[in-house]
Symmetry: C2
Subunit: 185 residues, 2 copies
DNA sequence: CGTGCCGTTGAGCGTTGTCAACCAGTGTGG
DNA sequence: CCACACTGGTTGACAACGCTCAACGGCACG
């Protein structure tokens, strides 16, 4: 995850990185890091030396383009989070976050029939959505009561993805998950 | 500004573009636009054809790098907005937004001794920060009463920037406004 | 002199936060 | 094997922040 530490004791979480995501191109381009990165579960991490990125920029314009593309997708996700945090009530906010995690996990083959492992505590969900732990808990119960999700321990099951997306106004286009062919038109 | 239109009638504003900002590199890289762009005041806009961007990517790695850099700064700003929207109360949220607009305007020479024109209605500020117009109004009055800002019509005057930044916990590092020399280290 | 936009104010309500406590599961050391 | 501590989830009561609804005033524009 990406996070910051605030003077008031809050620890806002600003992004979840799932397997396959680039996490740190910033380091080679920006002079200083403006946030921190931490793991929420055991991770395997590939290290790409700065010189390698430089070399790609110089000699491989198509790869450079792809890297830039990845940054633009991250940006799109951030914009959607912004919308989600500031303009939707807690229940839709949580539902929206779950939809995104489900679709992104699915894209890398980490789901099992619209159910997935969520290695995130309710406290961390609160830090992500700007809600208190208590309210996150009640919101989860609300979604369960409405039949929108089922959860056993860390496993979240979405029985009817269409309905969940409908509930929170989820439009997946911001994830830009089309095939490369479609992307180049 | 960048904005979206939601089914529930909201119109979240996700970014303000000030003179000199790139507004639309997305078009040449992402297959579809996931948000809209509109002007809040009269603007002069430079159009860069898609082929020109392609050419830069292929033949001018240093320019390509600079474009990518600009994207990363946009991303950093989005992250900070995310923090601001989800983790600060209304008064600090507004103060933080004003600090950012002031610093970004100052960087392009649009300020006059820590005062600047803000061509944004209270309604639009509400759409930006996820607050109702009424509450934005009361928040502005609160900042005025505390002596943190003065405003005459569209003009906002910050008498004591240090104090305003202190009030909202503003850390300007996310704007990455160092000189190019510092940036390359 | 109307019309419309923007800012302002008041009253009442609802969502969410805080505080405090309790419970279940898990790992640890005696 | 059993206390013990610790983490994460759950619940209740109450307060606060921010929203909605409704109305009004100033100002620009035609």
């Amino acid at each position: 995850m990406r996070y910051k530490l605030l003077a008031n004791g809050n620890r806002p979480i600003m992004a979840y990185l799932i397997p396959g995501d680039l996490c740190d191109v910033h380091v080679s381009l920006l002079a200083q890091m403006d946030h921190s990165i931490a793991t929420l579960s055991p991770c395997r991490i590939a290290y790409i030396p700065r010189e390698r990125i430089d070399a790609i920029m110089n000699d491989h314009p198509r790869l450079a383009r792809a890297l830039w593309w990845a940054t633009l997708v991250d940006e799109a996700i951030l914009r959607e989070w912004l919308v989600n945090h500031a303009h939707r009530p807690a229940d839709q906010r949580l539902a929206h976050l779950l939809c995104e995690i489900l679709l992104r996990s699915k894209a890398v083959g980490l789901t099992d029939d619209d159910s997935f492992e969520l290695p995130i505590t309710q406290d961390e969900l609160g830090d992500t959505m700007g809600l208190s732990t208590v309210h996150v808990n009640r919101t989860i119960q609300h979604l369960r009561a409405t039949g929108l999700i089922t959860s056993q321990g860390r496993r979240v099951v979405v029985d009817d993805l269409e309905r969940l997306m409908e509930f929170c106004g989820f439009n997946p286009n911001y994830l830009h998950q089309q095939s490369e062919a479609a992307r180049r038109r």
